[in-house]
Amino acid sequence: MATEALRAENPDSIEALSREAEALKARLVEEKAKLNDVDSCVIGQRLESIQNFNIKPRRTLKGHQGKVLCMDWSSDKRHIVSSSQDGKMLIWDAFTTNKEHAITMPTTWVMACAYGPSGSVVACGGLDNKCTLYPLSMDEDPVTKKKAVATHTSYLSCCSFTSSDHQILTGSGDSTCALWDVESSQLIQSFHGHAGDVMSIDLSPTETGNTFVSGGCDKMAMVWDMRTGDCVQVFDGHESDINSVKFYPSGDAFATGSDDATCRLFDLRADREVNCYKKDSIIFGCNAVDFSISGRILFGGYNDYTINVWDALKGTRMTILYCHDNRVSCLGIAPDGTSLCTGSWDYTLRVWA
């Protein structure tokens, strides 16, 4: 009410304020330009090209009856959870390719799934707008012990446990992210700021990092403080939906994959985009990205059924991996970096090494 009155008294103030905002924006652009002292790829050129890069599909995980939509590695480096459009979540021993659990969801389109750090619980959700946890045990059907933890007002697009099984971070089509207490299903913190569906989240790999990054259909990537719920950094540049975000292994930067057919590298310290991975011949959107553990190689899973392998420091494409017969919807590097798992709309997952 007070501001209404203020506006009536001083009609110029908004104009003046906008002028000030514009001036500040211009200064910010200027400041950022000053720091853009060199093209990142130029420095990367002094590195030798990676020789003998030889990666092949080593395992094929068949069993889903629908499009594979999401996958996550267990901390034991050999188990994988995957979810699919047929409403099933499968737990694989990827090393032997055995299925250890099959969990049927009440809804089809299980768009997100995650392994708990202990390896004894998995979480998933999708069009049911919920995130449900299933403790894994050999004696009992996990379904009998399921527990709905999070509820959003739109579909669940991604979820990830934090450092323990007791907390889970979720992202949703309702354009928010939220941190939940597993035991009490209580909302610990919500994160508002995206102006479009949140598509992907990734927790900072640093030990003390209380931050995570999110990417969404508003073409923005945001870095959040989990303690306060504040958005601490915003990164723009993409020309279409951001489908995937993933921290650089040191935690100082993150990569994004987008429907605009590019992957980008944004640096937290430089507070800007430092690299863009694209080629004219790549026209389909990128659904998932992940780094090799040295951060040198960036894998991107695309809608054109391929995985493009980028030299993240040189900014060039190293190779294309063909194998899937439909869109590559998700991918992830094993926690020890020994392999890459890709999931596709062709109903299969593959492990590459």
């Binding site: 000030e20 007791h166 919500s190 700021g193 279409s240 553990i293 970096g337």
Partner: protein
């Protein structure tokens, strides 16, 4: 060219029936999640169709008849190699296959939409059949189309097995209005009959290709399917327009509730604050951050299985789990040297290896500063604790490490101590010790950790570990590499 234009008239009328009921006027085609990629493919198609620089389109004579407006797979692939930034023929063929499976061009007598690099003939699709111009067609249209094909007594129009099955299924489904479908098919067939022979050939194939995209041969990918997440948004768009806050990129800070942003003045003032804060932030130059990436890479390259194959073979390649067993073991004699080497990279690396943590804790005990690590670990545990247990743990940590007369007092400065004490009185949360934890971490990092790396304990442990690499020399080299970039 002429054929293409005259053809459009018929296709327009067909479009009316195909695209008319589609979308029900709910959303425009721009909302389609595949729209962006359609546009990109179409701009390539336009270049391909350029009269002088495009793919050469010919009318080929064969025996008694003519094959109008076709090009060979070979010509197409070689055009792509010359004009698009593709790496090799494999990539060109892959892109050609994708564009074909979206129906932009198609083999003239095959339902399977793909491209071979040979003399097979292909034809461009007419733009009004492009997936960007028509939504998902209805089953009734498909029924009319199949029904029509059965009326046209021509060998090339004969139904394939799967089409015949589809027709039978549709006939069952639409049994009540089959008469209507039949009449429509008859009318269309009549119109078709009046057409010029060559024109008909082209149009028939284009219509067939349209259905090959939307009702693909079993086993082929239906490229018109959309990502369900994106489809959810598409539906939402048509139902409501989303609130558009004055701040570009949406609301920057979540601490502001929607009500606060109701007036333009407030939102601008808020934006100004955000911008000011951004301006104050210290930023690092690109050159500097890239140097950091390179240093990080050089340090970790030998641990990156995609760059250097590990000493013990990769389990996924060798089918042996030895590598994982070595990574897990806590038996000092079994710990491979590569693990111990990593402890020297950073204190974070040391602490995330349970064996490293164990060693460091032993070292700290000898230095009489073991409480630092215990405090830090307790704070880490607190962060991941269930909500119910937080309060209890907070008090436990406080009384063990920080309270006056604590068991294991940690040494934090009085400012931080004061901050913690104030927070303790006021319903403390799990982040109550953040500053203290940070302080202790820095202390361990700058002090104890560097002493640990120089200690005989670490060196002996390193040398006593299983080494399959060149051992200490390698470690020395690594140490040097580590120091150069800094």
């Amino acid at each position: 060219m002429a054929q293409r234009h005259s053809g459009n008239r018929r296709l327009d009328s067909l479009q009316g029936s195909v695209a008319g009921p589609v979308g029900n006027g709910q959303h425009t085609h721009e909302d389609n999640p595949n729209h962006l990629v359609y546009k990109k493919m179409e701009s390539i198609i336009e270049r391909m169709q350029d009269e002088s620089t495009g793919v050469p389109v010919r009318t080929v004579k064969s025996f008694m008849s003519k094959v109008p407006s076709v090009f060979t797979g070979q010509d197409l692939v070689s055009w792509m190699m010359r004009n698009l930034d593709v790496e090799d023929q494999v990539e060109a063929l892959h892109l050609a296959h994708l564009m074909s499976s979206h129906g932009y061009f198609f083999p003239i007598d095959d339902h399977v939409l793909t491209v071979k690099n040979d003399n097979t003939y292909y034809r461009f699709q007419t733009p009004c059949f492009w997936p960007s111009r028509c939504g998902e067609p209805e089953n009734t249209d498909y029924a009319v189309y199949l029904c029509k094909r059965t009326m046209q007594n021509k060998q090339r129009l004969e139904l394939a097995d799967y089409e015949a099955e589809n027709l039978a299924r549709l006939q069952k489904m639409f049994s009540r209005k089959w008469e209507f479908i039949f009449m429509q098919a008859e009318a269309q067939a009549k119109v078709d009959k009046k057409r010029d022979k060559l024109e008909r050939k082209v149009l028939d194939s284009q219509e067939r290709a349209f259905w090959d995209v939307h009702r693909p041969v079993p086993g082929c990918v239906n490229t018109t399917e959309v990502d369900i997440k994106k489809a959810c948004r598409m539906n939402r768009h048509s139902k409501m327009s989303r609130p558009n806050y004055a701040v570009p990129g949406g609301r920057i800070s979540p601490s502001v509730s929607e009500a606060d942003l109701h007036t333009a003045g407030d939102s601008i003032r808020h934006e100004i604050n955000v911008l000011r804060r951004k301006l104050e932030k210290r930023r690092v130059k690109i050159s500097k951050v890239v140097e950091c990436y390179i240093a990080y890479y050089q340090q970790y390259a030998e641990f990156d299985a995609f760059i250097t194959s590990p000493d013990t073979s990769n389990p996924w390649i060798s089918d042996s789990t030895e590598f994982w067993e070595q990574e897990k073991t806590m038996n000092p004699r079994e710990i491979p040297q590569r693990r111990v080497k990593r402890w020297a990279f950073s204190i974070e690396e040391l602490l995330c290896d349970p064996a490293g943590q164990d060693q460091f804790s032993k070292f700290l005990d000898k230095e009489f500063s073991g409480e630092n690590l215990k405090f830090w670990l307790a704070c880490q545990e607190l962060k991941g604790l269930a909500l119910r247990e937080v309060n209890k743990k907070v008090h436990e940590i406080f009384s063990e490490f920080l309270a006056p007369g604590a068991h294991n007092p940690v040494n934090v400065d009085c400012q931080i101590m004061e901050l913690v004490r104030r927070r303790m009185e006021n319903n403390p949360n799990r982040f109550v010790f953040d500053e203290a934890q940070d302080h202790i971490f820095k202390l361990m990092k700058s002090d104890s950790y560097s002493r640990y790396l120089r200690s005989d304990q670490y060196k002996e442990f390193l040398c006593g570990t299983r080494k399959k690499t060149s051992g200490y020399l390698m470690w020395k080299k690594l140490q040097q590499a580590r120091h150069i970039p800094h």
